[in-house]
């Protein structure tokens, strides 16, 4: 059975939700969203149970291979030092993200002009500024205005509390004279948009049962659905179909029983992530597009950027209740964000101060790091670590490189029979030098704060959350997949609005920028009367 809509959106995560909300403000449009995962029920999130930590290794793991969920698709990342992390459900990976919400900097959009690396974006920070602001209002972002490392924000919710550990680390930054600032986090710190405030439980990354974390199922989606957007869950998009003029005609998808359907739409909007979007386009092969739709340039799937992470952990002598509060959101430092010619790398990184590990993680990590033994000394050593640790994650700017890529894996298939993906990824020397520098800096901060460094390593294996660059934006169709309006070159009614279109990655979590780009692209779509592309 074929159904006709004005717009079909594929993917209900960060960008799909923002698109659904923005496009449905015109309630004359008939809009549908396809999501391969199912709805989640916040009242059943693991954080409502005392054994919530266990779910991080099971159904709420960030590793698709650990979840045993039919919504997931095979991802072979054996040729990458970083494993891909995601979550396929209504709301996408925002259900599990830590909600760090910094914006990219003005310089991030001009890396080639300023530093001779990467490429310039065809849009600027100034172009996106109104969309950053709109998005922050919709998502509910806590922070503090006046940050010297960022152009000023007009409005933010009150900052996330630092807690005793955060204050101790802040004093360490101050002793070194380095920048720090309370984290920008999509977490309500007071009532905002009919959602309550955070009550400092800690486990943000298994779903926030409180609804304080700005996952899009509780921010954009309730309004988008009231505005009339239909959502079809457990429906996997298999192919973008084309009409005889070569325009997008709709989406072929499989429902939860495996039955095939085609949705017809005048505009197709893809928001399936930096892995899912190229997968769908690569699978949309036809005689006119034998290497995948939108792949005339050969750029589709290439330039994958993952933000390799470094990590340093330290322990304080005193109990600083470090495990209390939103785990990922405490302090950020952008002391080393901008290029400095005295360093042996271009561009830079953000330091994110993370709160201490919860009990099971403290015990398990401590055992395997030979810090907390079994036997009679166990409890004393556990006591010396629990609630006394702090971590710093180093988010390095990842520059685009052609050999870092996603391709279809015709040897593996998902539950609908669609090919899985292979990821090929290597760290550049620039990234390695950046991470080494970040590890040294992080150690300096933690030592200046009076803590003892207990471990440091890079790259962090299970941290491939930030999936960017695989359908890059550009003015030249020979070197890009979409134009500055996120419109696929050569297919004017097909749009990609997620972080696949990033030209460079910046050194910050991508969601704020991805959603700003989504709103920017949707503004362009809605300017076209009758969606006539």
């Amino acid at each position: 059975m074929n159904k006709e809509y004005d717009i079909v959106i594929v993917g209900s995560g960060a960008s799909g939700a923002a698109a659904a909300w923005r496009l449905s403000r015109d309630q004359s449009l008939r809009i549908v969203c396809l999501e391969q995962g199912d709805f989640t029920d916040p009242s059943k999130y693991p954080s409502t149970r005392i054994d919530w930590e266990l779910s991080r290794a099971m159904e709420y793991s960030s590793k698709p291979s650990s979840r045993n969920n039919l919504a997931d698709y095979p991802i072979d990342d054996s040729d990458s030092p970083i494993s891909i992390a995601n979550f396929n459900s209504f709301g996408g990976s925002t259900i599990l993200y830590s909600a760090h919400f910094p914006r990219m900097h003005p310089s991030d959009f001009l890396t080639h002009s300023l530093d001779g690396v990467g490429e310039d974006w065809p849009v600027s920070y100034a172009d996106l500024k109104p969309y950053f602001e709109l998005n922050e209002s919709m998502m509910g972002v806590a922070g503090l205005v006046g940050d010297p490392a960022n152009p000023d924000y007009s409005s933010l919710l009150p900052p996330i509390p630092l807690g005793p550990m955060g204050r101790a680390v802040a004093e360490g930054f101050n002793r070194l004279g380095w920048h720090w600032w309370p984290s920008y986090a999509a977490i309500n710190t007071r009532n905002h948009n009919n959602r309550g405030p955070c009550i400092n439980l800690g486990p943000c990354n298994i779903g926030c049962a409180q609804g304080a974390k700005g996952s899009v199922d509780v921010t954009y989606w309730p309004i988008a659905r009231r505005q009339g957007v239909e959502v079809l869950t457990q429906c996997r998009a298999l192919e973008v179909t084309l009409d005889q003029q070569g325009k997008a005609k709709g989406i072929m998808y499989a429902d939860k029983n495996g039955a095939r359907h085609e949705i017809l739409a005048r505009v197709v909007v893809l928001a399936c992530s930096g892995i899912g979007t190229p997968r769908l386009l690569l699978n949309s092969r036809s005689p006119a597009h034998p290497n995948g739709l939108g792949n005339h340039s050969g750029m589709l799937g290439r330039n994958l950027m993952l933000h390799p992470l470094g990590y340093v952990e330290a322990v304080f002598a005193k109990d600083l209740q470090s495990s209390l509060g939103p785990h990922g959101a405490c302090i950020l430092s952008q002391e080393f964000y901008e290029t400095n010619s005295d360093r042996n790398f271009s561009r830079g990184y953000t330091l994110q101060v993370l709160r201490g590990a919860p009990a099971v993680e403290t015990a398990n990590t401590g055992f395997f790091m030979r810090q907390i033994p079994l036997g009679k000394d166990h409890h004393r050593k556990f006591h010396d670590y629990f609630n006394r640790t702090a971590g710093i994650a180093i988010i390095s700017e990842d520059l685009p490189e052609l050999h870092n890529r996603v391709e279809l894996d015709d040897a593996t298939f998902d539950s609908s029979g669609m090919p899985g993906v292979k990821v090929h990824y290597k760290l550049s020397d620039n990234t390695k030098n950046m991470l080494k520098h970040g590890v040294v800096s992080s150690k300096q901060v933690l030592q200046a704060a009076g803590a003892k460094v207990t471990s440091s390593f890079w790259p962090v294996k299970n941290a491939g959350w930030h999936l960017m660059g695989t359908a890059r934006m550009g003015s030249d169709p020979n070197f890009s997949v979409v134009n500055k309006h996120c419109q696929v070159h050569g297919v004017p009614n097909l749009f990609v609005v997620d972080s696949s279109v990033f030209v460079t990655s910046g050194g910050v979590n991508p969601v704020a920028t991805a959603q700003a780009v989504t709103l920017w692209a949707c503004e362009y779509i809605t300017k076209h009367k009758n969606l006539n592309f």
Partner: protein
């Protein structure tokens, strides 16, 4: 092995000074049933029995506390995957049991009636950062 309690108490004995109970005082059997780990226990205890015979020519239950812990740790060399999985599950079971969470001070526990309060911050800490002035790059 007949007595799993002996094994897990050797791994996590009580600590009266810190008020921490030994592992056998939590409901480990319920955890094993919930997560279908009977095969893991069989595999681990089989390796442990073998180690005890090879190393001490005795049964696990006949060893003193130091020998018991040495035997358990020696299982790592026999099969690191089974040893690591066993340790992980015991630590998970122990530190997710309500009585242990209360004793170690994890703060509010589910179903989270009140959450945790964190004291107000003194933002004068940021004064030096702010006074340093703008550090982001001018692209105009």
């Amino acid at each position: 092995m007949k007595d799993l309690k002996l094994v897990i108490d050797a791994m996590l004995p009580g600590d009266p000074e810190l008020g921490m109970p030994s592992a056998s005082l939590i409901d480990f059997n319920n955890y094993l049933r919930t997560y279908h780990l009977e095969e893991l226990i069989d595999a681990f205890t089989s390796i442990l029995e073998q180690v005890c015979i090879e190393k001490y020519s005795q049964l696990f239950s006949e060893l003193d506390s130091i020998q018991k812990l040495n035997a358990i740790n020696a299982c790592k060399l026999k099969n690191i995957r089974i040893f690591s999985t066993m340790v992980s599950h015991l630590l998970r079971a122990y530190y997710t049991s309500p009585e242990i969470q209360m004793k170690i001070g994890v703060g509010s526990v589910p179903p989270f009636p009140n959450g945790n309060s964190i004291a107000e911050d003194d933002w004068s800490l940021l004064e030096t950062v702010y006074e340093r002035g703008r550090i982001f790059r001018d692209v105009s």
